[in-house]
């Protein structure tokens, strides 16, 4: 009936099928947590806001229209939550206390250490590159950050990103160009 299986699940949930909602939650929770985590780089805040995203979907299910991809809809909600909630003092304080400057860490490094067969030197290089990248992403203006994350990690087209951020496609092209340039400049020393 629907090309996108998530749309079908959402329509079933609209009709009262709670199991369909649980399936959507299980399928997308990791993606949404990581979207917010890459944006704010705080696990606690990312998980809290990801839960907020799913609660909002649960509450506003009746507003969903199966005209677009489900992933576009869910990431639009996540984008709004990132842009609105993270400005609140409550979250700003949490982010400040959980990752004080100079002591910030990149979660996922342990994963890298476990599976890596790299030499100590190249491991150090990788870590430095990641740290530079992390800092460069944090410094990007909010909309550039969102556009870049949606483009690099979720493979959304410029048109889809434009819908999610609520701006023209040409603006998205500029946002992504500028953000990639900034990241390139930041990690350039490790590239040569």
């Amino acid at each position: 009936m629907f090309k996108d299986p998530d749309v079908e699940l959402m329509v079933r949930f609209q009709k009262g099928d709670e199991e369909a909602f649980q399936r959507l939650f299980n399928k997308h929770k990791r993606g949404i947590i990581n979207f917010i985590y890459r944006f704010c780089q705080d696990r606690g805040v990312a998980e809290e806001l990801a839960q907020e995203v799913f609660l909002r979907i649960y509450e506003s299910a009746h507003q969903y229209r199966p005209t677009a991809k489900f992933s576009s809809w869910i990431f639009r909600i996540a984008t709004n939550i990132c842009l609105n909630e993270l400005r609140k003092a409550e979250y700003q304080a949490k982010i400040r206390t959980s990752s004080p400057s100079g002591q910030s860490r990149w979660e996922g490094d342990s994963e890298l250490e476990d599976r890596s067969r790299q030499s100590a030197h190249s491991l150090l290089e990788t870590k430095e590159r990641r740290e530079r990248l992390r800092r460069a992403i944090t410094k990007l203006p909010e909309r550039q950050r969102i556009a870049l994350i949606l483009n690099i990690y979720y493979d959304f087209s410029y048109r889809e990103i434009a819908e999610q951020i609520g701006c023209p496609e040409g603006t998205v092209k500029t946002l992504i160009h500028r953000s990639k340039e900034a990241i390139k400049q930041a990690i350039m020393p490790t590239l040569e």
Binding site: I33, N34, E47, A50, E59, W106, S157, K184, I187, M188
Partner: protein, 167 residues
């Protein structure tokens, strides 16, 4: 290669990498990269930076994530049930614009009904009261009217004249 052309290509190189250019633009940028070593190097740096970004696999949800969410969801369900209990089902299932229109119509209806209550009601009189109102001026001249018949009776007038003359 002119500097202007290099700058123009630089602006499009990210979209080129993402496959977001038209066929003509793609051909133009691709052709330039083949010929310009400086732009080619920039392009390679960009692809390298994107590859490093893609290395960041992210995190797995913590063990407590699902449990915490289910708790919040239960709370939400209770709240929604309480809220929805007061709203008829057909309204709950209406799309948002229709619900807004319905709410506006209901508000207008309430305002109109409220306005009607504020307009003073007309007072209804019984026939006696209507008669009384119509002849109110007569009532005020009651004393004159009382003797009206007498004043028009010539015998009485003559008798009164005679009485006046005698005195």
């Amino acid at each position: 290669m002119s500097r202007e052309e290099c700058l123009k290509v630089k602006e499009n190189v990210s979209a080129f990498l993402d496959g977001e250019l038209s066929a003509q633009e793609r051909q133009h940028v691709g052709g330039h990269l083949r010929l310009c070593s400086l732009c080619k190097k920039e392009y390679e740096h960009l692809t390298g930076a994107v590859a490093i970004m893609r290395e960041w696999h992210g995190i797995s949800p913590s063990e407590t994530f699902d449990r915490q969410f289910q708790k919040k969801l239960q709370k939400q369900r209770r709240r929604l049930r309480r809220g929805r209990g007061r709203i008829p089902a057909f309204i709950q299932h209406l799309p948002a614009p229709y619900r807004l229109a319905l709410a506006t119509a209901m508000s207008l209806l309430l305002i109109v009904l409220g306005g009607l209550l504020l307009i003073p009601k007309p007072t209804y009189l019984n026939p006696y009261e209507i008669g009384l109102a119509r002849n109110l001026d007569l009532l005020q001249n009651f004393e004159v009217i009382r003797y009206r018949d007498g004043l028009e009776n010539f015998d009485i007038i003559n008798a009164m004249d005679e009485l006046n003359e005698a005195t």
